[in-house]
Symmetry: C2
Subunit: 288 residues, 2 copies
């Protein structure tokens, strides 16, 4: 999995270099490159492994994979803004508004957001225009006001709510905030190959929830150096999390069950799904 | 032209109502509706008239027309943020961060941005997937780091530059900042009909520049009540504008020449292009 991950990171980097290479270089473009560096590239891995499972070659799937990383990077840049989570550290580096300024962070996020759609609909990704249109359309739905942005809006509303969120409410919030992009990434393969989406959708929905539970676990048990970002913020803010609702052991057990469900959902693919199953186990073992 | 404009505004409003109708209603969605209201809908008019010129019915062209209005609305919401232009008034109403707060303005802008791509690639717009993919792909290029965002970034850089911009530099800046979306709107027709883009591209490039010159004229001669937004800001900031470089009369003459060029570019369409030619004349007659 390490070797495959290095291969994917190299492919994504080359895709961004090609996309941004002949652009007019202004500070916003430097800030975009900064925001794209140093991540886990989990969503790109999901997209390219889902594509490989469906017989789509890397040279094509790298385009939607880069798209989902650009989308994720934009969401982090805007999330870190002073008026949002006000974070100074991300992926072990200063956030964009700290290294540059707020205006550059707003604009770099906006440009990454548009770039995501440029990459998702790129002719290099698929010769089939129906695939390109579907990738762009579903990406907009996953990122927008009923997907990721809805999750972020519910998260902000929870901070000033009269009572902490229930487990159902947090699950709904997270399905938007992190689940929607993770699911889009996992469905890249069947969408590009026009194959059955059901097994990868079940996998992604369980994985997305496990991912968020682990994020809450890291917020409690992690340290800044390992996580590369601020930790302990949710507990300090008195926010309901999977850990506050289920307890630390309960949250870990729930994540474990979800990962088993995610792996089982791919049994139809046999041994070919091994790396996606490994990825699911990595998600709850990670410290960052 | 008044009647047609009313028809287009009604169609766009219905399209947004359909798109946002069954969404979970959170404050961010209220803020999106607020940001979409009260504009001139100039870009929607351009898109739908360009489409009509190419034989595309309103029931289809309203989708890309709504897309470009969503994109324009997002850019205004983010442009008005305290870290950007810091404006409290827009379209005669309080800006989103004033009526709600900064976080809601960032998220509402982000959701409008994604919505633009959802609408541009909507199956209701075209049954031809190649058209949907092309509309999404070109919209991303027009809005992104080599289009609108580049223009905004150059505009911010100009504020702290050692010398004022030259006429060529301002023209380049404006081609991104306002020109790219105006051109995209004007090309909706030939892109949907797979017709020759050249006449409408020449029209749009002249019109976009005339539009920006008139914006600079309004900033000097307009009043807040008529404009529905702050005026006199550029002069107060000592920024180079078309008016500071060409003089007020020189700027008006230049806009006039550009509008004549824009109208001439459509002569190939004969009388059918009348409303787009009227629109061009309106652009330099407007006070808002």
């Amino acid at each position: 999995m390490k070797a495959r991950q290095a291969e994917i990171v190299a492919a994504i980097d080359a895709c961004f270099a090609e996309s941004l290479g002949n652009w007019q270089q202004v500070p916003v473009v430097d800030a975009m490159r900064h925001a794209l560096r140093g991540g886990k590239n989990l969503r790109a891995f999901l997209a390219m492994e889902s594509a490989a499972l469906c017989g789509i070659p890397d040279v094509q799937s790298v385009w939607p994979a880069a798209a989902i990383e650009a989308m994720h990077a934009y969401s982090l840049v805007h999330d870190d803004l002073p008026c949002m989570d006000d974070d100074a550290l991300r992926r072990g580096q200063p956030t964009v508004h700290v290294k540059w300024d707020e205006a550059t962070a707003v604009l770099a996020g906006d440009a990454l957001h548009s770039l995501a759609f440029e990459l998702a609909s790129a002719p290099q990704g698929s010769a089939d225009p129906d695939v390109r249109a579907t990738l762009a359309h579903t990406l907009a739905q996953a990122a927008g006001g009923q997907g990721m942005v809805l999750g972020q809006a519910l998260d902000i509303a929870a901070e000033s709510a009269a009572r902490p969120l229930t487990l159902d409410e947090i699950t709904h919030l997270q399905a938007g905030k992190t689940g929607a992009l993770i699911t889009w990434a996992a469905l890249v393969g069947p969408r590009m190959a026009r194959a059955d989406e059901a097994p990868l959708r079940r996998y992604a929905e369980a994985l997305g929830l496990a991912f968020q539970i682990q994020d809450d676990v890291i917020d409690v048990t992690g340290d800044v150096a390992a996580a590369g970002k601020a930790v302990g913020k949710d507990a300090a803010a008195g926010k309901a999390t999977f850990v506050s609702l289920l307890g630390l052991d309960g949250a870990k057990r729930r994540a474990d069950t979800l990962v088993t469900q995610a792996c089982d959902a791919l049994s139809v693919y046999g041994g070919k799904a091994q790396s996606l199953q490994q990825l699911a186990r990595f998600v709850i073992a990670r410290a960052t």
